[in-house]
């Protein structure tokens, strides 16, 4: 399952930047765990794991991601 930036987190169409990954590539995560922090227009938002499983990170810290963009997946 893809980990995507929720489209409802902010109003404008601006991009987000990943400021921190709070798990490593390949780690086991539980649904709801806080896994990353992103920043949009100077405000920090939280990204949570959409399901339980093993995470694969596709976008590194400082990567710029559009609304709805994918930053990783959970198997």
């Amino acid at each position: 399952m893809d980990i995507t930036i929720p489209t409802t987190l902010w109003d404008e169409d601006s991009d987000a930047v990943i400021t921190s990954w709070l798990v490593s590539d390949g780690a086991a995560v539980n649904e709801g765990d806080l896994i990353a922090e992103i920043m949009v227009e100077k405000i920090q938002h939280e990204i949570h794991a959409p399901k339980t499983g093993t995470i694969s990170i596709s976008q590194a810290v400082e990567a710029v991601v559009a609304k709805g963009g994918t930053i990783g997946s959970i198997a």
């Binding site: 601006s14 991009d15 930047v17 920043m39 227009e41 100077k42 405000i43 400082e62 710029v64």
Partner: protein, 328 residues
Amino acid sequence: MLPTSEKKKWMYENMLVSRFFEEAMETIYMEGKTPVFNMAEGPIPGEMHLSTGQEPCAVGVCAHLKPSDIVTATHRPHHQAIAKGVNLKMMAAEIFGKKTGLSGGRGGHMHIFDADVNFACSGIIAQGLGPAVGAALSKQMKGDDSVAVAFLGEGAVNQGAFHEALNLAAVWKLPVIFVIEDNSWGISVSKAESTAVKHNAVRAQAYNMPGRFIADNDPIALYDIAGIAIEDARAGKGPTLIEVETYRLAGHFMGDAEGYRPDGEIDRLKSKDPIIRMKNLLIDENVISEDENLQITLKAQKLVDEAIEFARESDYPEPEEALDKVFV
């Protein structure tokens, strides 16, 4: 003491230069900071505290000042620097960190110093007050009728330095004027949450000096009251405290998401833009025509554009210059 037409024009021109400068700062500051907002990046790095909307506070007071009068300012100094006559090109260059800046890039935006017009800043809240008191002391001892003006925010009034400075100025009857720019917010904390009184002007009573309140960001009213205060100071009658209700149209600092502002506040404040109000006043009073307004506007924009160009084209200092000018 109401301003003449010439003074009103001067105030309006100055407010325009100030506003255009802040608009340029806002735009240029964001260069290199999108899509990732990292404060360290871009041609203007670090913090940026804009005075957009607070122009009346600077012009209403500085319209009365001579180069020998002293002004101390805060971390939000651009409008006051411009009103005091600080060299605009060198100020811009300083903010860009260039060698041609007021201090060769050592100070930056929060530490604007121009000895030619006796202007200085401190980035530490309320710490500009002591030096203003001292400058006033010096003038008094020399028998010089120059005065000192200390600008501060309403948040600064809760610092010990404010109380000590006012008391000392009053006890020694010094020619210093304290001007509070009340924009209601100390970063995310409102005045109502932090301050024991509704109007800081009343605190003047505690220090046996006049306390005056200017409502609604009105430069003409401020000109009047500041004029009286400055005249009194020059005449040896001692200090005055002035509180101006003003509006910060931008965030506390660039990067401030302003989540603490109530809904609609920013829009409501923008509808009271002091530049537009001043323009309308001058046109209504036939001080300027629409045509003259256009000329004034273009001239102000040109001054700012030239200052920015000077800043952009100037060189950075050599890295080792960091070691110079610690001592004279």
